[in-house]
Amino acid sequence: MVHSRVVLLGPQRLQPTLATAVASLGLRGKLGAVTAGWEERENEDQELSAHLQGRTVNLALYERADGVFRYDTELHKATRERQDRIRRSQELYRLRLAHLLEAARELKRRETRPGFEELVEPQLEGAVQALRELDREHVQRIRAIHVEFELKWRPFERESVALQRRELEALLKECSGLCIAGGHVGILLNRLRMFGILDLLRGQPIFAWSAGAMVLTERIVLFHDFPPQGSGDPEVLEAGLGAIEGVVALPHADRRLALADATRVALFARRFAPARCFALPARARVDWKDGHWTGEPGTRELKVTGELAEVGA
């Protein structure tokens, strides 16, 4: 469900900007915090809490999920099986993706070769369309796995989950906003989804960074151009929670992406267009309000030309 007010920020560890963002919206009182992406370190949120003058209420989604799984072993087993299926699907998708991406990159390299200029573009468009089709198919396939799981197991109706949701709803009722930190994007997504957290909000604004920003999008894109092994192909994980529209969130883009490589930037932006690919390094900020994006000066997005441009107003 699309949310009306979301602020995406750059990573917060070394240059926190969250308090300024919260203040800019004039929020008072408590703020819900999700740090489930930190896994077993979920409760080590002292720095975050201090940064927000002790106003945070950690929703403890990782711990709650652990409790649910301990109590409801049937759901635990089913969840593990679902995740195994998703992992296997991801593996197969990756195989096809590698070949399509290599073809697109090779075409891009030939763009400037004498005699090829006019011939490359239609072929490249075809290659990009094939990539988009594969990504779309993958998202659908994973979504089907989730739908099947939800129809069969109806997690929200199970006592173990329903009890936690009631507690979470009561906690969130007291909060003026929700902060979602980064960490492991898959675990964070699954915990937020497991408890249907966004459905429990009553229009409060969301502040999210790093993996937290990624899970709010319609489609989660994993990326790293400089891995120690392999070619670092950007890949779609699955559909996100869809709280914001038309955007791919790229935390640490300055470190994880070859932003000076126009070929890679152009192909990335073109593959995910019309979604806007926001680079979110430390101190970046983009605001989603009533269906529109605005960016703080200095916050940039990847363009199909291979350049980076200010997100702007």
Partner: protein, 377 residues
Amino acid sequence: MTKLTELGSKPSIGPTDIDRFLRDNRFPLVEGRTVTFVYVGSADEVKLRHWISGLPTSQPFQRFQGSPMWTLTLDIPEGSRVEYKLEIVRGGHHQLIQDPLNENLARDPYGANSVVFGEGYVQPDWAKPDGEARLGEIQEQKIESAAFGETRDVLVYVPARFRTTRRYPLLVVHDGPDYLKFASLRTVLDNLIHRLEVQPMVVALTGSPHRLVEYANDERHARFIVDELVPMMEARYPLLPQASARGLMGASFGGVASLATAWRRPGVFGNLLLQSGSFVFTDIGPNDRGPVFDPVVRFMGEFRARPGRPADQAYVSCGTYEGLIYYNRSIVPLLQSTGMQVKFTEARDGHNWENWRDRLREGLTTLFPGQLMMVYE
């Protein structure tokens, strides 16, 4: 034309020209693949002593046009690292020294060598301290070893943000204290874990007071590692119990110890990181490396005849300039024939700690890849 030949082609050369040449350049002088070594001083002979297999280990310098400057020009391929010393001969007396004109040193348990970097060699940034990386901790443990009949010290690297509620892979490193001291292993682990390139892991850094004996397929060593060290580590640290989350690592004789332990006790360790292993064998006749290698040669003979399946995957590396390159190249197809996944890397380097340091990222990320694509903090 190199700068030295340019200097030599002048119609007349005075002390000022040589002083300027020495002042304006850094030595050894690297110009593409051409590297010029220079020594200034009185001597009867000057020689370059290096450990590049395939080249004469002692290469004579020439006196430069009757001056006190001695020079030697060699072809050193791109990306190479070559460790060396200068041998100065005066009045029949031979002295090995570090190159006075080169501040780059590579340290090892025996001291330090001068080192020249071929064009394009860059010390990896992940092997240098990174202010942003969270730091792991080194703890000291002791084991009452029945295998050796004495107490053995073990250093244990525990990653940053270590939690007892989590389970970690275990890597056992031979010559562990030397890896810390000479191959920056602690910094490398801190950085690679911080960058999510390798999994947070617990590393047991073992040493041996008699490594040439104990590391050469000594049954007591396998017993110590498998029956004493691993259980002790599992009792004191939260470790993943499966072989796929355990690894053995070592360089030189430490590589032999890793392989021999895995071979004697298959199924305990899933991963081997073998650097410049001293995997010497002979197909016919005795070995020519001295009696210390006899047990290694016997082991390699047995291993080649009955390799079994010591582990699931291995990362093997060796310097192209090492005399061991032949043996390391030979072991790759043998390991592969057992069904193991094997990755092999050669580097233009020698049998030294910095070579082993520079291969750590590839080795560790091959065997214990981190969640780089899944974690965004």
